[in-house]
């Protein structure tokens, strides 16, 4: 076994070295573009795609290089079990994989963690997503082994298990909130892929004789891959059909906007056409001078609860997903001189010199503390927006709101929440952006009951928060040129009336009037159902049935509905008949045959493709006794129980009763 381990290392070592160099180069380039371990896009893309490629390639190399008949015979014909050979291969492959993955990653992490390289904070938790990607590559390695070892009927079916690894990688990207959940996903996927891989390698090519767990998991892997491939194909076809029918072009959006004097306007937007702005009655606005803005700057404040305890799981996933940058740090303000970040894991606000990429110091309760001291954490977690471009000059925890001035490096508490009425959010105009274009002259602190508006550090007005989450999703606040405030609450339900509640307040915060704005019509012509047919053909018949029933219940009637239904029913029947025909030629037991027919009734076309991918058609020839076609693999005829006839003698046979030697 050790000899096999060393052989695998030596055989694949050069490929591993190549991949290590390539990965290092790509990582180096990635860090030069975006020097961050967690920053969206560059590094996650590199590790999220690079490690799967490396893992898959290694798995394929290890199995394909030994798969030619001569090589395979040479390797396996020795006093060692195939299981032992596979174990040695896996050990070598995993060692190589981790060398190739962890060395460049380790260097990258070390580089990022070393002060002076990156103008951003480093927390060791930031390495976890990349490490998770590295570990996730193991799923692809296992998939590579299964793909390389499986004796597949056609090249497409051979590649299908990669789909399982793909689903695993995508799941690990979207769902986990922490490393543990990511590892759980990897473990589940590995548990699905490895038995099939093991059996494909160690069990020999006769699929029907492999242990049942191996067959089911291998079949599942192929099925997942088939769904991915067929689904992608169907999705592509559908979008092609839709663009061909030109349905997209009719879409349009209508949104409410604010005028500088506090009136509400309606903007009609269509793709490819500049927006037209009208008043609420639909009358176009009088033309204004070039320098006057048509729309007011507004502050949009999210109404959702920022307390992680109360956050919905979906939002928690969006905001604090394990792979999201926002779980670790949030940009507070950046310009050419300095970058400031809120570090979630340490609960600090830290600044970095953009040129020298050094840590400048932290802003906290004690004000600005230079780099020589350690960063000062806040007593409670701060709610800092995920949005990189908002960079407000105000941040808040549940208890206190602070006004920030990053140029002067000051942090001043401006508001303390009453006990029992914690702060929801504090928001303000973005710093470091052109003040004329983007900013509003006020900041806002919203508690669970009240909206407080601050100007120049002092509270100007406060008013009751009339509509809360989950009824509303956000609050838009505008200050008119004469000091009035307009508050527009956005409804969270896209179908219910009204769309917005608008309150107009005087400069002292007293309510002037309330308005309710109705839903604006959405010009959205849905695509005819027939453009969905590619997807419908791929989906299980049960899902199709449900989709059609749901469409009917929603009164989404479509003239193309009935022909599509008929076509789907016909296609389902054809699939079932095809299954009935095909399944008889696979040499399966009667029970297995009926199980497959039922299975394909549920799964439809992908099920039929799965059946064809897993099993070989077994030849049939005419039975010498009863004349019916019978399987060549059985000693007894299925119909008449007779054995096969011996090959007809031609009178030239020479046989001797064998003895050991002829003297």
């Amino acid at each position: 076994m050790k000899a096999i381990f060393i052989k695998e290392l030596r055989e694949n070592g050069k490929w591993a070295a190549l991949m290590l160099v390539a990965m290092s180069a790509v990582l180096a380039w990635g860090l030069s573009t975006r020097p961050s371990l967690v920053g969206d896009f560059v590094m996650p893309l590199i590790t999220g795609c690079g490690f799967p490629v490396i893992g898959f390639a290694l798995g394929l190399l290890q199995t394909l290089q030994d798969s030619s008949p001569g090589r395979w015979g040479f390797l396996t014909h020795r006093p060692i079990t195939r299981a032992q050979i596979l174990s040695a291969k896996l050990l070598a492959g995993i060692c190589l994989y981790f060398l190739v993955a962890l060395i460049p990653l380790g260097v990258a992490i070390y580089w990022v963690a070393t002060p002076g390289h990156v103008a951003a904070p480093f927390a060791w938790q930031m390495t976890l997503p990349r490490l998770a990607d590295a570990i996730g590559g193991l799923m692809w390695y296992a998939a590579g082994i299964l793909v390389g070892a499986r004796h597949a009927r056609w090249i497409g079916s051979r590649l299908m298990p990669a789909g399982t690894a793909l689903v695993g990688s995508i799941a690990a990207l979207w769902f986990p909130l922490n490393m543990g959940e990511a590892l759980l996903i990897f473990a589940i996927v590995l548990a699905i892929i490895l038995p099939g891989a093991w059996a494909a390698f160690a069990g020999g090519e006769d699929f029907a004789r492999q242990p049942i767990i191996a067959r089911w998991t291998a079949g599942l892997c192929v099925l997942i891959g088939l769904f991915c491939a067929l689904g992608a194909l169907a999705g592509f076809s559908t979008s092609m059909l839709r663009s061909l029918t030109g349905v997209e072009r009719d879409r349009g959006y209508n949104v409410y906007e604010f005028a500088p004097d506090g009136r509400m306007l309606i903007a009609r937007e269509s793709p490819g056409i500049p927006a037209s702005v009208t008043d609420l009655q639909g009358k176009p606005l009088p033309l204004l001078a070039e320098s006057e803005p048509t729309r007011a700057n507004i502050l949009v404040v999210s109404m959702e609860d920022n307390d992680p305890q109360h956050m919905s799981r979906e939002r928690r996933r969006d905001e604090q997903g394990f792979q999201r940058e926002g779980k670790y740090l949030r940009s507070i303000g950046s310009n050419e001189l300095a970058h400031w970040y809120y570090v979630v894991t340490r609960n600090t606000i830290e600044g970095f010199n953009a040129y020298r990429r050094e840590y400048i110091g932290s802003l906290g309760l004690a004000g600005f503390v230079r780099a020589t001291g350690s960063p000062q954490p806040f007593p409670e977690p701060m709610y800092v927006s995920q949005d990189e471009y908002s960079n407000p000059g105000i941040v808040a925890s549940a208890k206190t709101a602070y006004e920030l001035d990053l140029s002067r490096r000051t942090i001043v508490p401006v508001f303390d929440a009453e006990p029992g009425d914690p702060i929801l959010i504090a928001d303000g105009p973005p710093m470091f952006y052109d003040p004329d274009k983007w900013s509003v002259p006020f900041t806002v602190v919203v508690t669970h009951t009240t909206v407080h508006v601050f100007e120049s550090g002092k509270e100007r007005i406060h008013t009751a928060l009339k509509h809360v989450f989950p009824e509303t999703i956000s609050l838009e606040i505008c200050r008119t040129s004469d000091g009035r405030y307009v508050l527009a609450y956005q409804s969270n339900h896209p179908e219910k009336e009204p769309a917005e509640w608008v309150d107009e307040l005087d400069p002292q915060g007293r309510l002037l009037h309330e308005t309710v704005l109705p839903r604006l019509p959405v010009r959205n012509s849905p695509s005819p159902i027939w453009t969905n047919t590619p997807i419908l053909f791929v989906a299980p018949p049960a899902a199709d049935l449900w989709a059609l029933i749901w469409a009917r219940s929603q009164m989404i009637s479509d003239p193309s509905d009935l022909p599509v239904t008929i076509a789907l029913a016909a296609f389902g029947l054809i699939t079932l008949c095809a299954t009935l025909l095909v399944v008889r030629q696979m040499g399966l037991s009667r029970r297995a045959q009926w199980a497959w027919v039922l299975f394909n009734g549920l799964l439809g076309f992908p099920g039929l493709t799965l059946l064809l991918s897993l099993f070989d058609r077994i030849a049939k020839i005419a039975c010498p006794s009863c004349g019916k076609r019978r399987l060549v693999t059985r000693e007894q005829c299925e119909h008449c129980n007779a054995p096969f006839a011996r090959p007809a003698p031609e009178g030239i046979e020479v046989f001797a009763s064998t003895s050991a030697g002829d003297k």
């Binding site: 050790k2 000899a3 052989k7 030596r10 055989e11 030619s68 008949p69 001569g70 090589r71 395979w72 015979g73 040479f74 390797l75 396996t76 014909h77 020795r78 006093p79 060692i80 079990t81 020999g204 090519e205 006769d206 058609r617 030849a619 020839i621 060549v632 693999t633 059985r634 000693e635 096969f644 011996r646 090959p647 031609e650 009178g651 030239i652 046979e653 020479v654 046989f655 001797a656 064998t658 003895s659 050991a660 030697g661 002829d662």
Partner: protein
């Protein structure tokens, strides 16, 4: 089971609808040198791969060294030496790498034997297997297999592509194996002179069907070649039982018959030839007659498509 190194019962293999091996039942006695003959594509390699457990039989069974070929234990595989068609090796490894690789699996490794065979073929120890010539590859493959001291040596066309010197060395290696009385060799070959030298049993696969399995001399004794000389054109042939081939010349008929019986003499007599001579057959001639097309058929040289020979 102790009598036979290999025993198959109705061993069959289909590739799709095509039958490559059709219900072959043969028995290889322990200690014999057993040659499997047949034309290219007659199923020899398929049969051998099934015996080695590398290919699943469609039907039937085979016992190799007492174990079912579908489930050969590692211990059994340790006692079987296998040289597959084309002498496959790990091409990137050097000769010495392959030696230490192979050695690590077999406790009974005979290093001196390995060295002798390697020296005989002139293989430098740092040469990469992929760069060796055909003959050298065969030698290396042979050395790696022989040094494990197998009880059963299975070789699929080991002489393919070998020059005469290498072939001779291969033969010597096979004789070497016979030094041990219990050790068996099962091989396939097209070099029938070498088979005549070294084999004591022979089997012939004719289009996936086994038609011969017996000691070599037994086979030879049952193939007879008669040359009938006539005054003029030889008469048309009646059906002759066991006729393998018939060659017609201007005044002669050459008949090669298997399992000649008493009725052959009468049939020959009825043709009315002036003279009937029996011609001694080499093994090669017997096998060629056996494997060619049945019945009367001109050779290439007699083909009427060719231009006439200038007399």
């Amino acid at each position: 089971m102790n009598d036979f190194a290999i025993k198959t019962t109705g061993l069959t293999r289909y590739f799709g609808g095509k039958c490559a091996v059709d219900q072959v039942s043969l028995a290889v006695p322990r200690g014999s040198v057993f040659a499997l003959l047949g034309r290219n594509g007659s199923g020899k390699s398929t049969l051998t791969r099934m015996l080695m457990g590398l290919l699943e039989p469609t039907r039937g069974s085979a016992n190799v060294l007492g174990e079912d070929c579908r489930h050969l234990s590692p211990a059994a595989r340790g006692r079987i030496g296998y040289v597959a068609e084309g002498h496959p090796l790990i091409d990137w490894m050097r000769v010495r790498d392959l030696e230490s690789f192979q050695k690590s699996f077999y406790p009974k490794w005979d290093g001196r034997l390995f060295k002798s065979v390697v020296d005989q073929f002139g293989l430098p120890s740092d040469a990469r297997a992929g760069r060796l010539s055909r003959g050298q590859r065969a030698g290396l493959s042979l050395a790696l297999t022989l040094a494990t001291r197998p009880q059963l040596l299975v070789m699929d066309d080991p002489a393919m592509g070998l020059d005469p010197v290498a072939r001779r060395t291969l033969l010597e290696a096979m004789i070497l194996v016979t030094r041990n009385a219990g050790h068996t060799i099962f091989f396939s070959s097209h070099v029938l002179d070498d088979v005549e030298r070294v084999a004591d049993h022979v089997a012939i696969l004719d289009k996936s069907v086994l038609r011969v399995s017996c000691p070599v001399e037994f086979f030879r004794a049952r193939i007879k070649r008669l040359v009938l000389t006539f005054g003029g054109t030889p008469p048309p042939l009646p059906p002759i039982p066991g006729l393998l081939e018939a060659r017609r010349d201007l005044t002669q008929l050459r008949l090669t018959v298997a399992n000649p019986g008493p009725e052959l003499e009468q049939l020959v007599a009825s043709l009315g030839a002036q003279a009937v001579t029996e011609v001694a057959l080499s093994l090669e001639d017997a096998v060629i007659a056996y494997l060619g097309e049945r019945g009367e058929k001109p050779s290439l040289l007699q083909s009427d498509q060719l231009e006439a020979v200038a007399s």
